[in-house]
């Protein structure tokens, strides 16, 4: 394991100010000051999760990953029960001593396992989507190896030249141990057009949870309709076949009450 350098020579883009903090309270103060100054497009990196940072940036809004969890678990439960039911209905040779083909207590085990499995898999998918993993294209300023060790990073983006100077001052005043203004580092390069503050969204790629909820509802309705439709189809096809063979399905118990010799 190689030791980490005290500073980094990684490039900093024009319009970006990168700062490094050794103290959590300084970082929190800096984020607060940036918000008060109307600067919203920034990334904070930390070697560990800190609730102070999340509270300050997201103000208590829960992660939308939970919708994936809920949707996956509901789907999983229905899938598990449907798998047991349809396979047993599909293979009518299983006539377990006059007991129902679709046995709720016996199938609850598979239903439970499927609920957990699909809930977990969809949570994983939701986490990967919202964390944007794999994230190998994350901006280089946030890729400082020290950020996984013992310091915190605060990278501010989309700044005009004047804004960058102001942000540099704010970050320095709040106890950053290192502040790098891209415009200063790349003094010879032509600066990009600054983005007006009003055009900067707050976490612009924050997912639309209302849309996610609508998608979840539509998917659930489709799945339920599919299951009911398939169930009706199987009940009809298997039921007709069993009736043709002289079996009764009226009580859901498939018993050979109509055998010719009885």
């Amino acid at each position: 394991m190689s030791a980490l350098p005290k500073t980094t020579d990684e490039p900093v883009s024009n319009g970006t100010v990168k700062s490094v903090y050794a103290h959590l309270d300084c970082l929190v103060d800096a984020i607060d000051s940036l918000k008060k100054a109307g600067v919203r497009d920034f990334i904070v990196t930390a070697p560990l999760p800190r609730h102070e940072i999340e509270e300050l940036i997201y103000e208590g809004r829960p992660s939308p990953v939970r919708w994936f969890t809920l949707g996956g678990a509901i789907f999983g439960g229905m899938f598990g029960f449907a798998l047991c039911s349809f396979t047993h209905l599909n293979w009518g040779m299983i006539i377990p001593a006059g007991k129902p083909l679709v046995s709720i207590p016996a199938f609850l085990v598979i239903t439970f396992e499927s609920t957990v499995l699909w809930g977990c898999l969809s949570t994983l998918m939701g986490m990967m989507i919202f964390c944007r993993l794999p994230a190998n294209d994350l901006q280089v300023e946030a890729q400082d190896p020290r950020f996984s060790d013992d310091v915190f990073g605060l990278v501010v983006n989309n700044l005009g030249r004047k804004q960058a100077v102001k942000v540099t001052e704010i970050l320095g005043e709040n106890g950053a141990i290192e502040v790098t203004n891209g415009y200063v580092r790349n003094a010879d390069e032509v600066p990009p057009e600054p983005v007006p503050l009003e055009e900067m969204g707050f976490e612009p790629d924050e997912p639309n949870t209302a849309m996610l909820a609508r998608i979840a509802i539509v998917l659930t309705v489709l799945i339920v309709a599919g299951i009911i439709g398939s169930s009706l189809y199987f009940q009809k096809s298997i039921g007709d076949e069993l009736k043709a063979q002289g079996y009764s399905t009226t009580t859901r118990a498939v018993t050979p009450v109509n055998r010719p010799n009885q």
Partner: protein, 441 residues
């Protein structure tokens, strides 16, 4: 954790990686030798058939199923420590949960081999899974054996996801301290994790959900395993006591195995700051609790058999104590009920040597507990004319020894290529670096 800094934690935990010493290589060699011997025995069984196992009617479940249940039980502690104790915000879990989770994954991987070994024709093992086929032939989902397939595979999947997601920030820490091909490998494994505010936000939310999903699984998977027995009309098995009895036994054996594995690991890697007597004492207390439940269950089993006034049931239970399997019963009671009692003396559960020896005794006892349940019940069924004495063959012993080699090899590989203590979560236990502290000092 006083006096530790974030940087020191990263360095301490990553220091032992990639540096195998002679002892480590020796252990790898032993594991490979055991695995090779087990593989050879399995090969013999595949060529010759199940006749090389010691089965004799009516005993057709033996060492393989015993060892399957043993390894599934070992796999319980990891998820209990990582998920259940996470939800309870228990601080002592942080030092030990990563290695325990790894133990869980590898134990379940080991357990998963045994149903395939047990059925003989391993190349047909895929018949256990539902897949569309031209005969429209499906599994019987009312069978506890099918429940078991789903329970164990779900447990393995969820535990693996939970384990790997926990590893991702620490893999990123390794990536940032390596170079060349190794860095590329860990970059791929870390999925580009950078610890941004967005990533931590969704990560922590998802981690909580994984823990919430894994928690009922801890209770359910061994309950389902117990139904493999309890749903059968076999004396000594057909009891509603089995699920809590099996779950308690699984946690008991799992926590003992965590002590067995982690104590040499923490000493060899000089991790006393992160895994120390405080953690072992908590694990010992878990064993004391679950061992107490287990002892109570043993007694309850006998009471139920006596009170049922069922001569066959009572016959099996008395046979376990005074019959041909009495030695198995004695080993079980000594290892699981009597030996752990020494931990009720506080100084004994803080003594490393006593902790390690008793944990080893518990591991032995829990294997014999399953052997006692399986062999004695099957060998002593309703028809006295069919009573027999099952003796495992050398092939069965060889495959069982091979399973320890297989498990050991995975665990040894893990501790040298991944951090066995969770770096990011240990950092959460440390007071964060604050300017006001420095000013005050």
């Amino acid at each position: 954790m006083q006096g530790l800094t974030y940087g020191a934690v990263t360095r301490d935990i990553l220091r032992p990686l990639f540096k195998p010493d002679a002892v480590y290589l020796g252990l790898v060699g032993i594991s490979l030798a055991l695995m090779g011997w087990g593989g050879y025995c399995w090969y013999i069984q595949m060529i010759e058939g199940l006749g090389v196992a010691g089965y004799q009617p009516p005993v057709f479940w033996g060492v393989y199923i015993t060892t399957f249940v043993f390894w599934v039980g070992i796999g319980h502690a990891g998820t209990l420590i990582s998920a259940v104790l996470f939800l309870f915000r228990s601080k002592w879990r942080t030092g030990v949960y990563r290695a325990s989770e790894a133990m869980t994954i590898f134990a379940v991987m080991t357990a998963g081999l045994f149903p395939a070994i047990h059925v003989g024709r391993v190349w047909n093992a895929y018949w256990l899974f539902p897949y569309p086929n031209q005969r429209q032939l499906w599994q019987n989902f009312k069978s506890p054996l099918m429940w078991d397939v789903f329970a164990v595979s779900t447990y393995f999947s969820v535990s693996t996801i939970f384990f790997y997601i926990g590893l991702v920030p620490d893999i990123a820490a390794i990536r940032d301290r390596t170079s060349g091909a190794v860095k590329k490998l860990y970059s791929a494994l870390a999925f580009g994790w950078r610890g941004t505010d967005r990533q931590w936000r969704h990560y922590m939310a998802a981690y909580g959900f994984f823990a919430a999903f894994a928690t009922p699984l801890v209770l359910s998977v061994h309950s389902v395993v117990s139904w493999d027995f309890a749903m059968a009309q076999t004396m000594g098995w057909h009891s509603t006591l089995f699920p809590p009895y099996f779950v308690a036994g699984a946690i008991f054996s799992g926590c003992a195995m965590v002590i067995t594995l982690l104590m040499p690991l923490s000493i060899a890697f000089k991790w006393e700051k992160y895994i120390n007597v405080w953690h072992y004492e908590h694990l010992a207390k878990m064993c004391m609790l679950t061992g107490g439940i287990l002892t109570y269950s043993y007694g309850t089993e006998y009471f139920i058999a006596y009170y049922s006034d069922n001569a066959y049931e009572w016959g099996v239970f008395t046979d376990r104590v005074v019959g041909e399997y009495d030695w198995v019963f004695m080993v079980m009671v000594f290892c699981n009920c009597l030996a752990p009692l020494i931990w009720w003396i506080p100084s004994m559960r803080r003594n490393y040597a006593v902790l390690w020896i008793v944990a080893g005794i518990i591991n032995v006892g829990m294997w014999f507990e399953r052997y006692n349940i399986i062999a004695s019940s099957l060998a002593h069924q309703y028809d006295p004319a069919a009573w027999t004495y099952y003796t495992p063959s050398w092939v069965e012993w060889g495959i069982m020894a091979g399973s320890f080699g297989w498990f050991g090899l995975w665990f040894l590989l893990f501790i040298k290529i991944m951090p066995s203590v969770a770096i990011a979560e240990i950092k959460e236990l440390i007071r964060p670096p604050l300017k006001k502290d420095e000013v005050a000092a």
